[in-house]
Symmetry: C2
DNA sequence: CGACATAGTGTTATATTATAACGTAACTTA
DNA sequence: TAAGTTACGTTATAATATAACACTATGTCG
């Protein structure tokens, strides 16, 4: 297993996730400051909800969490979608198309194409970068100019296979 | 350009699409007969609507087309989704996750993972098979058991780039 | 400071995509 | 033909996403 694979697949292994959270939130702050963007409290709230795990959440799950935490408020979907839009535009989160869900990016700011392994059992998602030039080179041969890639591989991670599900 | 790439990228080139339609419908009939499955008239209608082009259509586009053609009927969504479910299960069509849309498969019955290049300009979609072992081998190294893959690359095809859009 | 421009938020309503539940019709097999 | 099964039709509703518009906060320049 290459070091890169090891880092990328952290979601499938036990690890100190507090460390992920702190690190990624800190990187998000730095990145926004560098780009003169406002990581407002709404945006930060939504990001923190996604940083809580390596599992993707639907927009309405995030909405429910916001409404749960601050039970005085009654937040509307548009608010969540706007925060998600900002976070995606800045590469702080990704959309998982095959789940209509969103997940925090594990290397914010890298603008290369992300690719995911999604365990349908534990729902953990591992994010990879660019380890997959095959189709891209075929696109190149065809003169096809790539904008955006969606690569989402669903299956069962090694841990979950052990537990004999 | 390899022969395989040439065949797969037919969507991006002028070609006799009538031939595609006849061929694919015929293959669908044979496949259903071989598997003792019923390609009922509803299922055939939905398949034919998708065979009309190499563009993906939303379930409600298909519904509108059904209701347009036979203007006496007033068909409900569930009917379309059921036909789509059957056609997907048999590998006669694919779902394009990043578009919430469906497209006819260009090599029905092959059960290998399909991968798509999607032109965001002409909306043509080229379907490839398995030219992309990179991520799959990474999955293998991790002991990740792959079930289903979603590989959808959006961009602009060579033709559309020429037209200077 | 105060007028302005801009970006972000809150709110309401609505659009789009998908499924559940249940009864009827059509096919299959004995 | 009767029973069992598969497919269809219908109604209602769930889940996901966006449009439109008013209000608020922030930054900027005189
Ligand atoms: Zn972590
Ligand atoms: Zn797992
Ligand atoms: Zn064709
Ligand atoms: Zn094109």
């Amino acid at each position: 297993m290459s070091p890169k694979t090891e880092t990328s697949a952290i979601a499938f292994r036990k690890h100190d996730h507090r460390r992920c959270q702190r690190q990624l939130l800190s990187e998000a702050r730095q990145l926004c400051e560098a780009r003169k963007l406002r990581l407002t409290s709404r945006r930060r709230q939504v990001l923190e909800i996604l940083l809580a795990s390596h599992q993707p959440l639907g927009a309405y799950d995030i909405l429910a969490e916001l409404n749960r935490v601050d039970s005085a408020e009654r937040i509307a979907p548009a608010i969540v979608y706007r925060a998600l839009e900002f976070l995606m535009a800045e590469g702080l989160i990704h959309r998982i198309e095959s789940r209509n869900a969103f997940i925090s990016c594990i290397h914010p700011g890298h603008h290369s194409a992300a690719q995911f392994l999604i365990c349908r059992d534990c729902e953990q998602v591992a994010e990879f970068e660019n380890i997959d030039p095959g189709l891209l080179s075929a696109a190149d041969n065809l003169g096809f100019a790539v904008d955006h890639s969606v690569v989402e591989i669903t299956g069962v991670c090694a841990e979950c296979q052990k537990h004999g599900d």
